[in-house]
Symmetry: C2
Subunit: 236 residues, 2 copies
């Protein structure tokens, strides 16, 4: 089992005025490379990070593997690392990557913003409309190559829920046990490939072109967010 990204369900009843950065607190996990070496990082502040693999050499060097192996250990080590005197690295001296790569699956929820439903003239869904993007769509912030197959690229900011625990038939009351944290995605869509007559009405192609899931650089741990239903997220 690998970690899963879930585009937020619960913003159905909120408006989509939304920051490509979730407000920053202490526990931000990220991935970076420096001198060709890929590592997990912990953010100290806006400009500094610590190399978690240097602090805790037996952790995997990618977030997905570390989450699957033992997400509690990842948290514990990140917290210890932040309180240590480990050397701070300037973000200017590294390449930041998306905070998770190769997730086991990416589950998206369609028509999850009230104002988007109004915009496209669709009734509010009574249950979640589930679609997916291929895991290979994940990329970092920055410019992407727009695929030649679309002339109607659309962007939409989404809160991403990072699920680290294998789950099946979960009760609503237990759902948060499975959540590791959050990040923010740009849910890119080839709008000209979504219609009843395109690809048999399936969203997949429109949602899953190369680089169609840029992620913010940090995963924020769940305990850092007081009310996930009341966040402002936005694209810059």
């Amino acid at each position: 089992m690998r970690a899963v990204l879930l585009f937020k369900l619960t913003s159905l009843l909120s408006d989509s005025s939304c920051a490509y950065s979730v407000c920053r607190r202490k526990m931000h996990i990220l991935q970076f490379s420096q001198a060709g070496r890929h590592s997990i990082g912990v953010r100290v502040d806006d400009t500094n990070i610590i190399n978690l693999n240097d602090f805790s050499p037996d952790l995997p060097t990618d977030v997905c593997s570390a989450l699957c192996l033992d997400h509690k250990k990842l948290l514990t080590e990140a917290a210890r690392c932040l309180q240590s005197t480990s050397s701070r690295i300037s973000v200017d001296d590294v390449t930041l990557h998306p905070p998770i790569t190769n997730p086991g699956k990416i589950i998206g929820i369609g028509l999850n913003y009230k104002d988007h439903c109004e915009e496209v003239g669709k009734p509010l869904p009574t249950e979640p409309l589930v679609f997916s993007k291929f895991s290979s769509c994940v990329t970092g912030s920055g410019e992407i190559q727009i695929p030649s197959a679309t002339k109607g690229l659309d962007y939409e900011c989404e809160l991403v829920v990072v699920i680290s625990k294998e789950a099946r038939n979960v009760k609503e009351a237990d759902a948060m046990e499975h959540v590791f944290g959050y990040t923010v995605a740009n849910d890119l869509t080839a709008r000209d490939m979504v219609s009843a007559t395109k690809n048999g009405g399936q969203f997949l192609l429109a949602k899953s072109m190369d680089n169609f899931c840029p992620l913010f650089s940090d995963i924020v741990t769940k305990d850092e967010i007081e009310d996930v239903h009341n966040l402002n997220i936005s694209l810059k």
Copy 2:
């Protein structure tokens, strides 16, 4: 990039009388475990395999990684191994797994059998209808647990094309360069979850429940199949 499973496109014009075994020739790649150790195997005949990792210790121990690292080396080593005096292992002494696990993506083509289109009363598509299953759906042959969420489980035999080479905007004439080989899947579908009103018409949930992609134990290399458009495949 990880290997990709593609459910056959080209059977559109053939009928779906179809063997959960493709006729056996020399180059069959598989995955098995013995005494808790996971290995890549090469099939010698119906009852014997060779442990490819014992023969070639620097190969990864799973097919997906070996394909991504160097699919030509996997082929070369498998061929050398078959001609060697390496010890034969009875399939009765091992646990066979699906021949590939954690593929980068699983791409399915809907309405790809002429007789299925007639059965469900749909016109033949003029272009492929693309859907996906989650990579975690892959399982081996044998019994599966039917999810409680469906009362309409449907089975359908499909030829699977294993793609080992990263590809983008490929010309039809070059397509076969990207194909490593073939296997056979049972394309399980929760038929009661496919309709215009279920999940917004998206096939994803109906196609992607746990274990909804059982695979035959072997991948047959592409050069073993003379005419892929003229195969009989069937479920047992």
